[in-house]
Every structure is written in C-alpha cells, then in structure tokens.
Amino acid sequence: MEIGVQTKNVIKDSCPLEGFTMLKRAGFSCCDFSLDVYLKNFNVYQNRINDFFSAPLDELKEYFTPHKQAAQTADITISQMHMPYPNYVPGGTDELNEYLRCVVAPKSMEICAFLECPYIVVHGFKLSHYLGSEEAEWEKTSEFLDLIAPMAKKYGITICIENLYTGLGGHIVEGPCCDASKAAKRIDEFNERYGAQVLGFCFDTGHANLVGLDFENFITTLGPRLKVLHIHDNDGISDLHQIPFTFTRTRENTSSTDWDGFVKGLKGIGYKGVLSFETAPVLTAFPNVMKADVLRFIANIGRYFDGILS
C-alpha cells in the first residue's frame, strides 16, 4: 500500500522540490496536498480573507505548476487534498459566505483537477445548533456539495466528507458526519443521483478518538465508501494531530487509541487506498533539524500498518 503525509510544514512554495524530495527520501510515495494553508480557518472565522483565491484560475494554475512538476520529479503522487475550511461561517457576512461558496470551493476543485488529484476532503457545515438538527445541517452541506459535485463528475474527482467534532464546554463532541450509517446512505444517494463516484468518505482517526467512536465498526459500516484517511493520534481530549501510538493514559502504558480496531476495520473492508498521515503539527513540535527523521518515523508507522494489512 502507498503511504502519504500532509504537505503542510514540508513543502515550501519557494522551492517545492526540496520538500517533495524530503518526503520521497523519508519513504512516502504520496502526499495530501494542504490547500487549506492558503486560506487559514482561523482567519476565515475572523472574517479576514486574503486574496489568494481571488486570482484568476490561470494564475493559480501557474502558481501551482512548480508544485506539480516537483511532485512528478520527486515521484510523489498527490493522492488527496484538503479544501480550505470552513465553507460557511454562521453569522458571517453574506459577502464572506458567497466568496467561500462561489470562489474558494470551485477554484479548489479546479486546482485539484490541475494537480491530477483524485480526492478532495471537505468539511461539512457546523450548523445544527442554529438549524435545530443534524438533518437540517446536512441539508445545507448537501446544497454546498451539489454546487461542486458537477465539477467532481467532470474531472473524475471524489469529494470526501470527513468525521468532524465540535467543542462543548471544554470537551469535544460529535460534529458533522460522525454517524457512519447516515454517511453511507447519503454517499450512496449522491453517487446514484450523479451516476458517478462524486462523494466518498475520509475517516479521521484523531477525530474519531476524540468522541470515542468504535473504529472497526465505523470503518466496516462505511465499507467501500471509505476513500481516504487522516491518520493521527491524540490524548482523547484535544485534537493534537500527533504520531500514532504516542498516547498512553495508564501505568500499563498501552496506547489509548484503538489502532488495532483501525487496522481490523481496514482489513475487513479490503481498503486499498493510501495510508495518509495528517500529522503536520508534529513537524513544528520537533526541532527543524529532525524533520527528515520524524518524517521517516511516520512513514515507518505507515509501513507497519501496511505490513499488517498486507
């Protein structure tokens, strides 16, 4: 199986080849292109929008041409990408939400196609508090997906919804797409309607751990709808995006994340996708001079999973 990692904190716009080469040397064959770094969520929530995505599409393609070429040169496949998020800000100005919907999202799809990336991960809207139910919330997400799904069909891209969380009084609870049964039905409905695999799922291990989801059961329920992964670890309390097997919570010092269930689930559904790590924060935690070592370690964990799965 192929092993991938986020480009965030590795690939520099000034010299993408350096980062892609580092990934290759560390043992990765794929990457999760972090398009979200070009419009950071913190700024979006603050209504501070930069003009990156306002540039004409040709300019954006030109901007990412060195990245595309560097990835090819280094023999790294851009196997998935993360669309900037959120795609809707409750209480945000109409102008802001219109920009996210009509500029950022379609241009992200275009960039995804340009980079020949088959999967793009999007965040569902977090609106249940305002709209009164998870169903009403999904309706809004669904409207958004309907905007970009025709592009997905045209370019052969699968949009992947991801299990998310939301904060509640100092701890974390379920957010959008945490019900695997519902997600499976909704994905099927979308794909049937479009007559193409326009929608799939991205299972995020860290988010699942935060709300104590049963990994194996969740993955099994998703089955072939599971297209991509965000593999990372945390203490079950905060979304830390750390290296798997990092956290223990008892004196026995066994991992407090159900990696066994994760692997069993993947094996059970015959997952053949990329084992992709979403561990960019690890690279800022370790000294910069250790970046290559840390990446190698992450890739080795990928190989460990691969060994069991194969």
Binding site: S128, Y165, L168, G169, H171, N209, T248, S255, D258
Partner: protein, 414 residues
C-alpha cells in the same frame, strides 16, 4: 412525565426516616433505586481471591434474598410516605471473567430483580450490559418471559468502556444498533418488554449527538438519566454544574430538543451522586431542593410547547430577542394576539408581525387567554402583572429553542 432521583446518598436503607423527611420537604416524590451487590464467587473458588493483611477475605455471597432484605424496609417506609420507586437499577457485573457459575448467577440475580421490581410497584428495571459484542439476544432473552409475566419493562442502557484509560463508546452507544436490538428482543418476546434508558453522563463522555440518538430511538426511549460531568470522567454531578469557559459541558440543548422531537412523556431520573457525596450531610437537604428544581426545570423545558397549548389564545410580554425567537419557532403554530412592553416608545409599533401594546391592554383579555412573559426579568414582570390583577401568567424561555437566529437584535432592551 415523571421525575425521579437516584437514591444513593439521599436515603439510608437501614434508617430511612430522616432521608424520607428531607425528600418530602424538598418535594421529591419518586426514586430510582440502585441495587448494589458484591459479586462473590462460591466458596470453592474463594482461594483465588486476593487477601488483605494476610487474612482470607471471606464475604458471604450475595443472594436474591439478601438483596430483598436489604431494601424492602426502605421501600415500605417510602411507600407509607408517598414516595414511589419508579425505576430499579439492577446490579452491574462484568461478564468478561470466564467462570462457569457466573452466567447463571447473573441471570438468576436479574430474574430476582424482576420479582423485586414487581413487589416494589416499580414499572422499569434497568439491566446494563457492560461489554460490547456480547450475546445480547441470548442474555436478555432469558429475562423476557418473567418480565412479561410481572408486567415489568426491562430497559437497556448505553455504557462507556475503558480503553487503556480512555473512556470510549462501550455497549449500546450506537443508536441504530440499539434500535435493531430492542426491536429484535421485543419481536422475540412477542410483546413490548424491552425499552431503553439513555444515560446522559455516558453520552457526554462519548460525545454523542444526543438529539440524533433520541430521534433514532423514538418511543423505545423510556427513561433518561440526567447527570453532568466534564466529558472526560464518568462522574454523576448535578445537571448544569459542569461548566468551562462560561459554557455548559453537557449537550442539554440536544437532550431537550430530542425529547421534544419525540414528545417524550416517560421517566426523567436525576443522578447527582458525586455532588451529594462530597457535600456535608448537613447541606444535603438543601441540595435535594435544588435537585428537585433542576429536575422540574428540565421537565418544563421539554414540555415548553405543550404549555403553549394550555390556553385558547395567548399574548406575549416583551418585544425583544425572546419575542423574536418565539415568533421564529412558535409564532406560526401558536400565533399571539399581540405583544406588550413597558417601553412606551414601542407602543403601537410592529415587531415580528405583532402589534406592541401598552401592558394596560392585558386587563381586557378573555379568561382563557395566557400571558407569556418573554423577557428575562420574569419575576419583576410577574409581580407587575399580579399587581394589575392579570391571571394566567406563564413564562416563556428561549435558552433551548428548536432553532436559533445567527444574530441577536442590537436594539434589545431586555
């Protein structure tokens, strides 16, 4: 809808008189009785048990009779004083240990709890299943005939599981699977013998979407345990007492919305055992009163819409955000005749499609019209209305609305 309270630290099973008096003074009329029982192996296996201080730790094995004897006096005393036992929580045992005597022992104990439930005049018995992936159908199936005969409903319950120190979703934490299981059990039993009790404390630890969980359960939901915790530790604290950064740690809005969605009319159980445990016994009677208020408040919130049906017509008092929220969520279904406000500048203006009138106009209302205060100065306005001789005064509240606006009105003068 009945509100009951977990008995632990509220009433002494051996000397119940003092507890009963305090419960009555607080206005508490129903209890959930938690049966505690030590799981102790037969004598031939006791050699394996740990020893403390070099002594063999011999303890008599709990039997159904010892349990009955322990609680029956308390139940009788409660009954005499008008306090009912509305729910019984059976002892919880781990079934992981592969002991030949264990399965039968637990089944016998549960069967006896059904009998005990009947004698206590209690309609619900909560029987927890601590482990995931157990033979639920086999285990619960053994209880169905006796429960049906006794007229007792067995309630399954969601439970958290310790995964290397991290509490995660354990048995019956996924609503779709729960529904499938209960329907299968009831089908096999040929009757509605099985229902569900939702433990809010577990939902909080597992970060469940409570509203969705409840909606999926529908009328299979027969009881809800109301307890608070920080979302990390499995404690039972008084609802609304766990907060962080000035916000609640528990999804009470999801609970209230969900229970409204399914028109819940069954059992609410307030469990604040850990809060009680750390308070001085001298202060506990005060806590009982607060707990009673909290239980009644949650019930009132759940029944908010039902309360709007009490009168043939209604008017509102207040022309601010709460009135706006009323009109958004209930204005179409229960349209008020008008609203009124103490601010003369607003009189005879329009707000959210309503005419804002002078409160003096309330004196001309018909007898079957309710006046709903839509303003956080409830008590001041209530006093004002009473002094005006207004009847049918009710509170409206927008803390747990079915939906919310993304913004708040800036001109609000509430």
């Amino acid at each position: 809808m009945n509100v009951s309270y977990r008995n632990t630290y509220m009433i002494d099973t051996k000397k119940p008189a003092g507890g009963i008096r305090d419960l009555k003074n607080a206005g508490i009329q129903n209890l959930m009785l938690c049966i505690s029982a030590w799981l102790w192996p037969p004598e031939e296996e006791q050699e394996e048990m740990p020893r403390w201080g070099g002594k063999k730790n011999v303890r008599k094995r709990e039997t159904p009779d010892t349990i009955k004897n322990r609680y029956m006096d308390m139940i009788t005393a409660c009954r005499r004083n008008g306090i009912g036992i509305s729910v019984l929580y059976a002892p919880r045992f781990s079934r992981k240990k592969d002991k030949p005597w264990l399965q039968d022992y637990i089944t016998d104990m549960m069967l006896e709890c059904i009998e005990f439930c009947k004698r206590a005049g209690c309609p619900y018995l909560i029987v927890g299943m601590p482990e995931k992936d157990y033979d639920y159908i086999g285990f619960y199936g053994k209880l169905s005939a006796k429960a049906r005969e006794a007229g007792i409903m067995i309630l399954l319950i969601n439970q958290a599981e310790d995964f290397a120190g991290h509490l995660v979703r354990g048995a019956l934490c996924e609503s779709h699977a729960v529904v499938e299981l209960i329907d299968q059990l009831n089908h096999d039993a040929g009757n509605n013998v099985f229902g569900f009790c939702l433990d809010m404390g577990v939902c909080n630890i597992c970060g469940n979407d409570v509203q969705s969980f409840i909606n999926t359960l529908g009328n299979r939901l027969k009881a809800v345990i109301l307890r608070d915790n920080d979302g990390h530790h499995n404690t039972a604290q008084m609802p609304f007492t766990c907060a962080h950064g000035e916000s609640l740690a528990t999804d009470w809005i999801g609970l209230i919305r969900g229970l409204r969605d399914i028109c819940f009319q069954e059992e609410l159980i307030v469990d604040f055992t850990d809060t009680l445990a750390v308070f001085s016994p001298l202060l506990r009677p005060t806590l009982f009163r607060l707990a009673c208020e909290v239980g009644n408040y949650i019930k009132w919130q759940i029944q908010l819409e039902q309360n709007l049906k009490k009168y043939k017509s209604i008017v509102l008092f207040g022309a601010g955000n709460m009135c706006r929220n009323y009109m958004k969520c209930y204005g179409g279904k229960y349209p008020p005749l008008f609203t009124c406000d103490n601010n003369p500048k607003l009189w005879d203006t329009e707000f959210e499609g309503l005419t804002v009138k002078n409160p003096e106009e309330l004196k001309n209302l018909p007898d079957d019209c309710g006046v709903y205060i839509c303003n956080i100065y409830y008590r001041e306005i209530e006093t004002q209305l009473r002094e005006m001789g207004i009847k049918n005064i009710e509170y409206f509240n927008d803390e747990y609305m079915p939906t919310f606006y993304f913004d708040r009105l800036e001109r609000d003068e509430e």
